[in-house]
Symmetry: C2
Subunit: 198 residues, 2 copies
């Protein structure tokens, strides 16, 4: 019913997460009414991002260079490594602006239920990197979940005996959230991880 | 902080209505992880839709031909014209599947407050079309609002004496909606436009 090219544009938007038929239609109708400069910018941005963005050969973050800006930055401390489960987490941590160490992106989390083994998430590369570096602390900053815990414990275990402190970021109640909305697991963790007020 | 090409992709998504920084980031990160086939399809769809889609020379709907499929369809009755305020409305009416007449898209609604005059919304072209056609009924299917009413009354007035029935689509309470959520204007209209149960 729609012209073919509009239909394709709607289908394109439907490729995106959380965008259904109605939203896709709305976005497509909106976009075809925009100036050609904007639509060209949009189309070219997609192509260029896909062409240019690759994984950093050291930390697996996304970058348009061989080695990302963070790995290349000699002003950052080479003694702390923060392990995250996707590149986006790095940009979130960088927005805080207080962490000055290195990062390493593992490819997801270990999940025996879904058949995701330690091999699948690139732990070999991580271990190699740790072996050839001088990290004093490794911060595990993955999602607090069964899979996150499993992955954290696994990493902790394989670097045991290397005299590196392994920490994980705190879990608990998000700031500003009423306790009544918090699930039991989080509440239990918040209770167990309570800190003395100093 | 983000690689340049990723930044551009995020900015592109932010061009879209209802998409802020966070959603744009999420969509951009999602898209660069998709296959090149999908991202190319997306980019090309934007370019093609913008290149190929134009306005139907008769009804102003969007089409990739000179005259849209509806205007070109001789199986549709040429006696009823439905006036809508944007091309999208046509596709919504067509989804119902029961209307078999013609359409005409006016370019928005008359709004003295915003300085939008009858000239601005292309009524001249509409009148020309009506004059050279044989419509028995004109259905005004624009948004029920002050501007919608003004536009409807204006159209009604200029075709007065042409022996064409002018109707407007019904306003009232959407099916399945509790009356307590309905604004006073809609409720008043629903009351005034009440129909006898037969």
């Amino acid at each position: 019913m729609y012209p073919e090219s509009l239909k394709n544009l709607i289908e394109s938007f439907k490729l995106l997460p959380g965008i259904g038929e109605k939203t896709a239609e709305r976005l497509a109708f909106y976009l075809i009414n925009e100036d050609i400069e904007k639509t060209d910018f949009f189309a070219n941005s997609i192509k260029e991002a896909k062409e240019k963005i690759k994984r950093c050969s050291i930390c697996n973050s996304i970058t348009d260079k061989d080695i990302c800006d963070i790995c290349n930055n000699n002003l950052r401390t080479k003694e702390v490594l923060c392990i995250v489960e996707d590149p986006k987490s790095i940009f979130l941590f960088e927005k805080i602006g207080t962490y000055n160490g290195e990062y390493h992106v593992i490819n997801g989390l270990i999940s025996p239920l879904e058949g995701i083994d330690p091999d699948d998430i690139g732990l070999e590369k991580l271990i190699k990197r740790i072996n050839s570096s001088n990290f004093q602390e490794i911060i595990i900053a993955v999602k607090p979940s069964i899979e996150g815990e499993t992955t954290a414990l696994y990493i902790k275990k394989i670097i045991e005996g290397m005299n590196i402190k392994v920490t994980r970021i705190a879990s608990g109640i998000p700031i500003g959230t009423d306790i009544e909305y918090i699930d039991t697991m989080t509440l239990e963790r918040a209770l167990n991880d309570r800190k003395e007020i100093e």
